[in-house]
């Protein structure tokens, strides 16, 4: 495929029920009312020259390049600001227009360096294209006059440069930053000839400004003014492949633009239904890790974790692993084996790992890292609604009137959706934020929360019950909806429970720390403000009452009738790119794909017939139980694909003790991660750029992942799992992931209509896709709940056993930031470290003063489980008594501090609440030092000069 820019229709698509027909240069075209002449012309294939218009942002009408003539209308209106009218007749190419356009173009070019031949945007520049389009060959004004050609470039951003000498002041970048990203980092300073684009204050560079490096301005810029550094370094792309971002659960789709086997840039795909042409710094720019020198490309084995690694052939590695698995199974029984699937890998890869365990190992000891993030979502939504997934698509937010965000920080965790949410808020939707921290959403440019309820960590259930109390006791519940759609007796039982005076906001205020009046206001707003949508994240799930909180959210949505149409719903914001998919694919120890319990004989029979083996009807071990069983001496072998449980799971000491007690730990990953310190076999993995498959995002959208380059290690991950399966005697012969998807579709009723041909044709599909929903399901529970009647569950507030006291008087809560991803294994290997070189502890000024610490000081952070050191930043974003940190850097070892308390229903760890003490310190703890030494020793590779660095 040759390289072409994605088509630009000049102005955004308009939604309207009315269609109008006009003629453009004699060609008839029918478009939704409100569509501009420019867009209508582009749709007929007759592009009108333009400079200041692009279809990602609203039209501005400043460049006067797009002039047209319209019968019966005087003058030459700008086509980008003129809507089509019924019967209108437009002329886009007349001698008069040509002359006018040429004149405009000449003015632009006279202030533009004519170094096209050496410019990095040569042949990929709209200014150049437009000059050619209007037939400009020479410039009458010359360059002797005043110009901007000597302005210095701003190269501070690690990924793109700003060269003002090439700027035509079209303001596309400014509008993209405002409208698409919602950051408002750019302005046009000055007027007329003196006007120029600037990032914030005069002293600011891009890096020091408010800019979050989303790239929207770079994409919008028609010239080389804002351009990716990689284009300068590598050259213009030659081909493009559409694929899906491998970072977060938003699931943005990109055009991976390639030059040979080299990735030049990732450009958001405008047809992507999750991102609609937008991106964040991670997916857009932070892909350099995929080719980082730390990647391990050869298999390695060792007989004990004290030995250096030995590089071996694939054959030897797989043969050795198979023999070890067999030996362990014979010696300790088949229940001694298990595996962990990855939310970063494709659906097909995940499906194969759980198949290897169920069909090859002969047990259900498979779990996934969703255990530590969204397992309560699965439990809670299945119990109340009947399906373990969010109810809406992302587009739904465009119809929301009240948005309730609880325990989520979308502008950092799910930035592209965060931008879409902010856009809706700028249009006037109301916002309620329930979070211990003042997240960016609470106050950012042109967005302010109507209510921020800064609750004490660990009291989500109490706050949600108090909201329900207000709604029920003030008669604001939607009883008609409840009677029609839910079990009325269960509702009555629940309504009596929440109405009890002990659930009033006033009674609970001392527990939750939330002022009763604000809570009442928020409840009234949510119940009466129109379409109410709830978005939540890990601040809901990672608690000892995670599952109860999810059910309390579901109760609230049902009681207010906010389920089953656009604009409403319960929306878990998924952490990793394929958490939804990993859960769908049967990664939990009690469920086959499509959330069917292993005790379901009918479901088992399907798999038994397809796979020719017996499926164990009893649930297998969850990750924490695997580690317990390992320390008990009965669990001995673990295959871990694409996860770093040592860094991501709570209570690091417990995890390391469990891993150390095993005899065969197989790590299948890109890097020698922290878990690999305890591994006996290392199988090199492939990056998302090197494989075919699918990811499923937070809106249940199944999207293609396409191979844009050959795997550096030689194999896609599914191929490695297949070879391991063959080595232990399974007869697997998949030749392409599409065959795995066909098997998934045969075995999973919600996927029965999914196949690669359809995904290629339609771009994406939202499950369920089956006979009942042949085109997929953007919104769920439209006519009735999947389980029949919606179920109200009484969710009593049971305080966590993790309590503050004299020794540990502060509450630690954890989170993530925009520029990094999860344990940071990828983002730390990119220039994103420019924004977040280390994990910092946020602390309220009062607490800091009491301890005599100030921003930048090293402190010791201690809990009952352990201690670590890191540096402090003093801020009133956190309330007094609360401290906050991220867990992106292994040196911090934040999880040395977190305890092993967990959700009562799913054992999802309680990351969000740990009682701690903070004291001044002057260096790393013994554990950090000892761990560093272990890491150094366990990364040695025999004979290799290389010691893989972290």
């Amino acid at each position: 495929m040759g390289y072409e820019r994605q088509a630009d229709f000049g102005t955004p698509e308009v939604r309207s029920d009315t269609q109008v027909t006009c003629t453009i240069d004699g060609r008839a075209v029918t478009v939704p009312a409100g569509t501009t002449v420019m867009r209508a012309a582009a749709l007929t294939g007759g592009a009108i020259p333009k400079l200041c218009a692009t279809d990602n942002v609203k039209q501005f009408g400043s460049c006067r390049m797009c002039l047209v003539e319209i019968d019966g209308m005087r003058g030459t209106p700008a086509s980008c600001t003129t809507p089509v009218a019924e019967g209108m007749s437009v002329h886009t190419q007349t001698p008069r227009l040509q002359k006018l356009r040429k004149g405009v173009m000449e003015l632009y070019i006279s202030d533009h360096p004519l170094d096209c031949l050496t410019c990095s945007a040569n042949n990929d520049c709209e200014l150049q294209d437009t000059a050619a389009q209007v037939g400009l060959r020479d410039v009458r004004y010359g360059y002797a006059g005043e110009n901007h050609l000597d302005q210095p470039a701003d190269t501070s951003n690690p990924y793109f440069d700003f060269d003002p000498s090439k700027c035509i002041v079209c303001s596309r970048c400014v509008r993209a930053c405002e409208e698409v990203q919602g950051t408002f980092a750019l302005t046009i300073d000055g007027r007329g000839f003196g006007s120029k684009v600037s990032a914030g204050l005069a002293s600011d560079s891009f890096l020091s400004s408010e800019c979050v490096s989303c790239g929207a301005c770079v994409q919008a810029c028609p010239t080389a003014t804002l351009q990716e550094k990689a284009v300068k370094e590598i050259g213009k792309p030659e081909r493009a492949v559409v694929t899906t971002c491998a970072y977060c659960g938003v699931g943005c789709t990109f055009r991976a633009e390639m030059r040979g086997e080299q990735l030049v840039r990732m450009v958001p795909w405008k047809d992507g239904k999750a991102n609609r042409g937008h991106s964040c710094v991670k997916g857009r720019f932070a892909w350099g890790y995929a080719q980082h020198q730390d990647r391990i490309l050869k298999p390695m084995i060792r007989s004990s974790i004290d030995e250096p690694w030995r590089e071996v052939s694939w054959e030897e590695a797989l043969g050795h692993t198979a023999r070890e698995l067999k030996r362990i199974s014979e010696k300790y029984g088949r229940q001694a084996l298990g595996g962990i699937t990855s939310s970063r890998c494709t659906n097909e890869e995940t499906f194969l790992v759980q198949k290897l365990i169920r069909a090859g190992f002969g047990n259900n000891n498979v779990d996934t890292c969703a255990r530590v993030c969204h397992s309560p979502t699965g439990y809670g939504l299945k119990t109340t609604f009947g399906t373990s997934a969010g109810t809406q698509d992302f587009d739904s937010v465009e119809d929301s009137d009240v948005i309730l965000v609880i325990g989520a920080n979308p502008t950092d965790g799910h930035p592209v959706f965060g931008s879409r949410m902010k856009k809706r808020l700028r249009q006037g939707a109301k916002l309620i934020v329930i979070d211990p921290r003042r997240t960016d959403l609470v106050r950012s440019p042109h967005v302010a929360a109507d209510y921020h309820l800064p609750l004490r960590p660990g009291t989500n259930v109490a706050v949600l019950t108090a909201l329900a109390h207000v709604i029920v006791t003030e008669g604001l519940a939607d009883e008609a909806f409840v009677r029609a759609r839910c079990d009325w007796d269960e509702y009555r039982h629940w309504a009596d429970f929440v109405s009890d005076a002990r659930h009033s906001p006033e009674f609970l205020e001392p527990v939750t720390g939330v002022p009763a009046e604000a809570l009442r206001g928020a409840a009234r707003l949510f119940a009466t403000g129109g379409n109410g949508a709830i978005y939540y994240g890990l601040g809901v799930t990672e608690h000892s009452q995670g599952s109860s909180t999810v059910m309390a959210i579901a109760n609230l949505a049902m009681a207010t009738g906010n389920i089953g149409r656009r604009g409403v719903g319960v929306n878990p914001l998924r952490g990793q790119n394929n958490v939804q998919g990993a859960c769908d694919m049967g990664s939990f120890p009690h469920e086959l794909s499509g959330y069917r319990h292993v005790s379901d004989a009918g479901a088992r029979a399907l798999f038994e017939a397809e796979w020719g083996v017996k499926i164990d009807p009893e649930p297998g071990l969850r990750i924490p139980n695997m580690l317990d069983a390992a320390t008990d001496g009965v669990f001995k072998a673990l295959y871990i694909q694409g996860e770093d449980i040592l860094q991501s799971d709570p209570d690091t000491k417990h995890v390391s003790a469990g891993l150390a007690a095993m005899e065969c730990v197989i790590v299948h990953d890109l890097f020698l991660n922290e878990t690999a310190n305890y591994a006996h076999v290392f199988l090199p993995g492939s990056s998302f750029l090197e494989k075919n498959g699918t990811f499923t995002n937070a809106e249940r959208r199944i999207q293609p992942v396409r191979k844009v380059m050959e795997p550096l290690n030689g194999y896609e991950d599914w191929q490695v799992t297949q070879e391991l399966a063959r080595a232990i005697g399974l007869d697997w012969n998949y030749t392409h992931p599409s065959e795995i998807m066909d098997e998934i579709a045969r075995l999973t009723p919600t996927f029965s209509g999914v196949n690669y041909a359809r995904l290629d044709a339609e771009g994406s599909l939202q499950w369920p896709v089956n006979a009942a929903a042949p085109d997929g399901s953007p919104i769920m529970h439209v006519d009735g709940f999947v389980r029949g009647k919606g179920k109200f569950v009484v969710t009593d507030y049971v305080p966590t056993d993790e309590r503050t006291g004299p020794r540990f008087p502060l509450l630690l809560t954890t989170g993530r930031i925009l520029s990094h991803y999860n344990v940071g294994a990828q983002t730390r290997r990119t220039a994103n470290v420019a924004w977040h070189p280390e994990d910092l502890l946020e602390m309220h000024p009062t607490d800091a003063e009491n301890r005599g610490v100030k921003s930048g000081d090293w402190v010791r952070l201690a809990s009952r489980a352990g201690e670590t050191t890191l540096r402090v930043t003093v801020t009133d974003r956190v309330a007094p008594g609360v401290v906050y940190t991220t867990f992106h850097h292994p040196a911090t070892q934040a999880n040395v501090v977190t305890t092993d308390y967990s959700d009562w229903a799913t054992n999802c760890p309680e990351y969000k609440v740990t009682a701690v003490q903070v004291t001044p310190s002057n260096g790393p703890t013994d554990w950090q030092e000892g761990y560093e030494e272990l890491t150094r020793r366990s990364r040695r590779i025999e004979g290799g000069a290389m010691e893989a660095a972290e």
Binding site: P589, H597, P619, D628, A629, T631, V634, V794, V798
Partner: protein, 75 residues
């Protein structure tokens, strides 16, 4: 071999019972939960737990489940 697992299991099952205390059928719910999510080894370890450490609802639920598994719950 020393193991902390029994203490952990006792903690876990008591925690489950505390969270289901207000359900119309707490005993049935606790039994179903253990049935659905615990491995056979964990179930048998639970049956062997010292009843004195367990919530009364848990004791009843485990006794009911033990019958199904042909084991006797300690009490």
């Amino acid at each position: 071999m020393s193991s902390h697992t029994p203490e952990k299991l006792a903690y876990m099952v008591n925690q489950i019972a505390r969270n289901l205390a207000l359900d119309p059928d707490p005993v049935g719910m606790v039994a179903q939960h253990i049935q659905d999510f615990w491995t056979p080894r964990m179930k048998h370890m639970a049956f062997a737990l010292d009843g004195a450490r367990l919530d009364p609802v848990v004791r009843e639920a485990l006794a009911r489940l033990a019958g199904q598994y042909g084991a006797a719950a300690a009490s």
